[in-house]
């Protein structure tokens, strides 16, 4: 088995009296597409938020590539190479499509207040580089023709794709996608599946995917973990999980039959 890129050790998160995550111990190998499934309220988004530093876990520890990251602010976790999208699209609607992706290049650029305010040659060169790289990512996801549109004017499907491009622009090693297919039609979901596979294959990024669309999950992911009431119910390849009795009982059963 490949080395573990992300490791959770008995991670718990409480919200008041609610245990959103209970002693979750799990590891994600590098270079896979790992899906997290589970009924609503199973703790999938909470897990994302703990990993990306939106809030720390109540107890337990999280390691990214051997470095302990639980409790770090999210910009520091981002700097280590973790990027994400949000369940309810969180684009910067006051900026253009291109500028959104350019913002993703923030931590790859250095120019400070003086360099930017006086447009020093170093800053201009860097800015050209930011634009060039941002266009590459727009090209990669297929949005290059829309670069000057306001981000908020895109249809939902394209907004979700743009959010992925912005996350990729940070050059992550681990990409967390929170329900990327939510609200997409069948054709859009298929394209999304292609994109996710290309992210792994072409860019070599490990993908952690929270998703309700079972077709997408089964087609694209290498590994699946099932969360149920904040605990790991089962994990394995898609077919292993599909045939796991406990899983069928609590989750797939009602949906599949």
């Amino acid at each position: 088995m490949a080395r573990k890129l992300l490791r959770l050790e008995s991670v718990s998160r409480k919200f008041g009296g609610l245990d959103a995550l209970r002693n979750v111990t799990y590891a994600v190998p590098e270079g896979v597409i790992q899906a997290i499934i589970g009924p609503n309220g199973a703790g999938k988004t909470t897990l994302f938020n703990c990993v990306s530093g939106v809030f720390p876990p109540t107890s337990g520890s999280i390691y990214f590539d051997g470095v302990r990251i639980d409790g770090l602010p999210s910009h520091k976790i981002a700097a280590l190479g973790v990027s994400r999208t949000f369940q309810n699209v969180a684009l910067f609607k006051n900026m253009s499509v291109l500028e959104n992706v350019m913002l993703g290049r923030h931590r790859q650029s250095r120019a400070g207040f003086l360099a930017c305010g006086f447009r020093l040659p170093s800053m201009k060169r860097e800015e050209q580089e930011i634009i060039r790289r941002a266009r590459e990512y727009l090209d990669f996801v297929g949005l290059v023709d829309e670069e000057n549109k306001p981000a908020g004017s895109l249809p939902l499907g394209k907004q979700k794709i743009l959010e992925i491009a912005r996350a990729l622009a940070t050059e992550p090693r681990l990409l967390l996608l929170d329900e990327p297919a939510g609200g997409l039609n069948t054709a859009e979901t298929e394209q999304l599946g292609d994109l996710i596979r290309r992210i792994k294959k072409t860019l070599g990024v490990t993908v952690l995917l929270v998703e309700h669309d079972m077709n997408l999950v089964m087609e694209c992911s290498d590994l699946v973990v099932v969360l149920h009431f904040g605990t790991v119910l089962a994990s394995g390849t898609p077919s292993e999980v599909k045939n796991n009795e406990k899983v069928i009982e609590v989750y797939l059963g009602s949906a599949a039959n």
Binding site: P73, H75, S83, N94, H106, A111
Partner: protein, 321 residues
Amino acid sequence: MRKKDRIVFLFFSLFVGLFPLVVASIKAVSHYIDVMIFAGIFSLVSIGLCLLMGYAGQISLAQAAFMGIGAYCSGILTTHYGWPSSLALMVGLVVTGVVAYGVGVPSLKLKGHYLAMATLGFGMIVHIVLNEEVELTGGPSGLVGISGLGIGNFQISSPFAWYYLVWGCVATVMLFSLNLVRSRIGRAFLAIHADERAAQAMGVDVSNYKVKVFVLSALLASFAGSLYAHYVEFLNPGSFGLMWSIKFVLMVMVGGIQNLWGAVIGTVFLTFLSNEWLHFLADFEVLIYGLILLVIAMFIPQGLVTVVATKLLKKGLRDGA
């Protein structure tokens, strides 16, 4: 700088450069030079506030207080201690920077109304200190006998010299700010404005940038305050109270909250209103400001200058096609 900004900057330079020459030749309005000097000083404050409010999305009701700290540093150091004015100005900047950092770090953790309240509270504290520390500040009766501004052996004395000095500073600050908002830092500001959580997840150190832009806006206010002290040669706490902080917010809003040119135009407009056109209303002029704020907030929240500029641009495109 974008092409559009370059053209606007050219017009701005022409207008600002020629304004005193034209106005000085007409006796009835020759004192407009004086009004424009004030407008320029206030523009430095509102450009900083525009970066803070319009771009980074953080409100401050303490800009007049920061201006006051700069002004009183200049005033006190030159009168009581006989310091040269340029050195006093720099000390003012350092003091304001340190104070703004100290206020900014805790209060910028707050959002919206709570941030407004915190900065308002700080502004009131400064106002009270200026009033009560009579030995240093002269208290409510003011600080008199502040020297003019000198740079080395060169004294700025004539209105023309003041005018071109102040508006030269405005032009420089304007260029700096225009460049800043069209850079990775400007994009970070806008990202923080739109969605802090997403900005942070994309690697932007949100609280660091918030504090930095807050300090930058305070430094500009402090610089303006020092210019004000040396130009007027008299200081009174009333010039740095809450009403003035609100006026600065209004100046930015009238022009267009996310429009740096709008901030300057709004400032000039409101300075002429308060120093000239509404003078006859005395205390009731506040009513007019309230009315303006109401109309802007209800009907043209993007600001006058933004609306007019968009209309002109659309017309230009139609005519050109």
